[in-house]
């Protein structure tokens, strides 16, 4: 068996690292606020005009877009190895890779549409 050279592999590891950093830095605060604190009434949810202005801000959109794309590829990359090696599905690795990265691509397209194109 010869060593398969895939020029995309370093890029995937780069996205894995960058996504891991961004997810670690930003997601806990976002999820604590919007997923737990506001629904439980620990803090009053922000008013619509304010949040609308925040979401429309170009810098917020850019940061959210980078976070979404990189965190999705981070998750896809990590899950790919976990499913393949954890469940011992080496024979299905092609299908697993396609599902993981395909889902990350679809999510990135949705993020791009929502954050860069729409509104």
């Amino acid at each position: 068996m010869t060593v398969v050279r895939r020029p995309v592999e370093p890029l995937l590891w780069l996205a894995f690292s960058a996504g891991g950093v961004l997810a670690a830095l930003l997601v806990p605060a976002l999820l604590l606020l919007f997923g737990v604190a506001f629904p439980l009434g620990w803090l009053p949810a922000p008013g619509y005009p304010h949040l609308d202005a925040v979401v429309r801000h170009p810098l917020v959109r850019l940061v959210l877009f980078a976070l979404c794309v990189l965190a999705l590829f981070h998750a896809a990359h990590r899950l790919r190895y976990t499913v393949r090696d954890g469940l011992q599905l080496r024979r299905l690795s092609g299908l697993i890779d396609a599902s993981c990265y395909g889902a990350a691509l679809a999510g990135s397209a949705a993020a791009g549409y929502l954050l860069l194109a729409a509104g």
């Binding site: 997810a23 605060a29 976002l30 619509y48 899950l79 999510g107």
Partner: protein, 134 residues
């Protein structure tokens, strides 16, 4: 990963039970750490749903808030938060081994790198809270 010949694989293939990772605490933590990726992905989806709702108008934003307060959604988010925190802590711990910083030829101790990561985390979280709650 590569480098094994087909013959080698045919000759020696140890069977590993599928639940090998529940036997030891360190293995279990490793697999849980890897599974945090599922909840990172969920958090991205949740954030995009929020952005979509806000972009669509005030009514759908109210609808999103009501949906997020449903017990099932809340339960998922509480679990997701725990996993995402686990991801952050393990990621920063890893950084001290992965990142080599040298100052005047001497390697900066790992503790400093972890501390710098936590400081950055605090700043990033404060900025998020300030932008959202202002």
């Amino acid at each position: 990963m590569t480098g094994y010949t087909g013959l080698y694989q045919r000759l020696y293939r140890p069977r590993v039970p599928i639940l090998w990772w529940v036997r030891r605490r360190s293995y279990l933590l490793f697999v849980l750490r890897e599974l945090s990726s599922v909840f990172v992905a969920w958090s991205v989806v949740y954030t995009l749903l929020l952005v979509h709702a806000v972009t669509a108008g005030e009514r759908s934003y109210r609808g999103f808030l009501a949906w997020s307060a449903r017990p099932q959604v809340l339960a998922v988010n509480v679990v997701a938060l725990l996993f995402v925190l686990f991801h952050a802590v393990t990621w920063f711990a890893l950084a001290s081994r992965a990142v080599v910083v040298r100052v005047r030829g001497r390697r900066v101790p790992g503790v400093w790198i972890v501390a710098a990561n936590y400081a950055l985390w605090a700043v990033a979280s404060a900025i998020v809270a300030w932008v959202v709650l202002r």
